[in-house]
């Protein structure tokens, strides 16, 4: 495997290999601190995403490597009209690996075809964001010790949330998982995800507009209702406030429930929940750095 463009580029075995490597890094950080010495990561961010970019940069720095790049299109040659392919080919001459975020879907694939160094898709529009899914999988594995036989609740914007779609697709590959999809009717999971992923794999799922299934959940994945998806501010405000996770809603939840969120959050998780031991979203951020370290090592062919 040269690049990571979509989470489906990885087999179950490769996913597990990355998770195992990330756990090894967490347990033995000193072993890895010089692994990428003299290697350079180029972060090509054609649209800003501070969180993802810093996670990649922190990952490379912690492996002893260095980073270069840009954080918005206006500071790259794209503003002069250079193609993605040309940019990727040029950067190949400077760096050893690329992490790329681009507003257009498929841009990282174009870069991967043009570059002779590995390219990691760090998000292409509303399409793929495989390192977020890797982060989620590592978090689930670390918290639950497995990726199968789990009941996973997704809550919030299930219509536009690509992290939700990718995680449903990823978790569908493991046996015995079932899904509870909690959202207002307007923000339900798109039909093709239900048909092509859930029903095709014969996975049980339930759509609901209430919290009644909370006691049975192993994972609760909360998402933000994204303002930029709405034409009408009133609709946004109404839907944003429908599902807010509060401490009292967790009263009947399992003791070992794992509450996740890709962040940033707005108001969908009350701050008081942060001190609950079941809140895993900041651990998730940290896991994001570790899994990116594992991924960089794998793509650079470093043991």
């Amino acid at each position: 495997m040269k690049d990571l463009i979509s989470i489906t580029d990885l087999s179950i075995e490769e996913l597990q290999e990355l998770i195992d490597k990330a756990e090894d890094i967490i347990e033995n950080p000193d072993k890895f601190c010089d692994k990428c010495k003299r290697k350079k990561l180029a972060t090509l961010f054609f649209e800003p995403s501070t969180r993802t970019r810093l996670s990649f940069e922190a990952a490379m720095l912690e492996l002893g490597g260095s980073v270069l790049g840009f954080s918005e299109a206006s500071s790259s040659s794209a503003s002069k009209g250079e193609s993605v392919a040309d940019t990727a080919q040029t950067i190949s001459c400077y760096a050893d690996i690329i992490a790329m975020r681009h507003p257009k879907e498929g841009a990282p694939l174009v870069a991967a075809k043009a570059a002779n160094i590995p390219v990691i898709n760090a998000g292409d529009g509303g399409h793929n964001h495989p390192t977020q899914t890797l982060t989620d999988l590592l978090t689930i594995f670390r918290e639950k010790g497995r990726l199968n036989n789990l009941k996973i609740g997704f809550c919030g914007d299930l219509k536009f949330g690509r992290t939700v779609h990718s995680l449903i697709a990823a978790m569908s590959r493991y046996e015995g998982n079932s899904f509870v999809l909690i959202s207002p009717e307007e923000l339900r999971v798109p039909g093709y995800i239900k048909k092509d992923v859930l029903e095709k794999n014969g996975l049980p799922y339930k759509e609901t507009d209430n919290w009644n299934d909370m006691p049975e959940l192993d994972i609760l994945y909360m998402t933000r209702v994204q303002r930029e998806r709405f034409f009408n501010e009133a609709d946004y405000l109404r839907l944003r406030d429908v599902f807010i996770l509060t401490v009292d809603k967790l009263a009947d939840a399992k003791d070992d429930l794992c509450i996740m969120h890709p962040l940033p959050r707005v108001n969908e998780i009350e701050h008081a929940v942060d001190s609950d031991k079941r809140a895993c979203y900041f651990k998730q951020v940290l896991n994001g750095k570790y899994i990116r370290m594992a991924l960089i090592l794998k793509l650079l062919g470093i043991e």
């Binding site: 392919a85 879907e105 498929g106 694939l109």
Partner: protein, 141 residues
């Protein structure tokens, strides 16, 4: 109705009735100088009706394009008045620059020189998706 048989050329047989003009356009047959016969609604034992195209020249045909438009077509290569080769088509794994991706968020919408490539994702249902953004082609594409 009688149409002369060809000596050296290609016969596209078992075209789904009504699709011959689309194939004529896509294969750019109008650019050829040789004789071409388009037979519409010919009687077919299998399908009731079919279209046939006879091309009086041995040209190179993009079989992927043809297979995408109608995988039921039989391509007969005629040499010295006899059928030298018979090819049955199937849906190709990928088609390049046959369909246009209409997704405004796709990278192909801003980078004009990129080839529009679609990959077959479901052979049974004949579903193709753009390799860049995974959108399905629009019907009129």
């Amino acid at each position: 109705m009688t149409i002369d048989s060809i000596k050296n050329g290609i016969v596209l047989d078992h075209i789904e009735a009504g699709k011959s003009m689309e194939i004529y356009k896509v294969l750019e047959l109008s650019k050829l100088d040789c004789q071409i016969a388009i037979i519409k609604n010919a009687t077919s034992k299998k399908a009731g009706h079919k279209d046939i195209i006879k091309i009086d020249s041995l040209i190179d045909i993009n079989l992927d394009v043809l297979g995408y438009i109608d995988p039921g077509i039989t391509v007969n290569i005629v040499k010295d008045g006899v059928i030298a080769e018979k090819r049955h088509l199937s849906l190709p794994e990928t088609v390049t620059d046959v369909l246009k991706c209409k997704n405004p968020r796709c990278i192909t919408s801003v980078e004009q020189e990129l080839p529009h490539v679609f990959r077959l994702v479901d052979r049974e249902k004949g579903i193709y998706r753009c390799v860049y953004c995974e959108h399905k082609p629009k019907a009129e594409a």
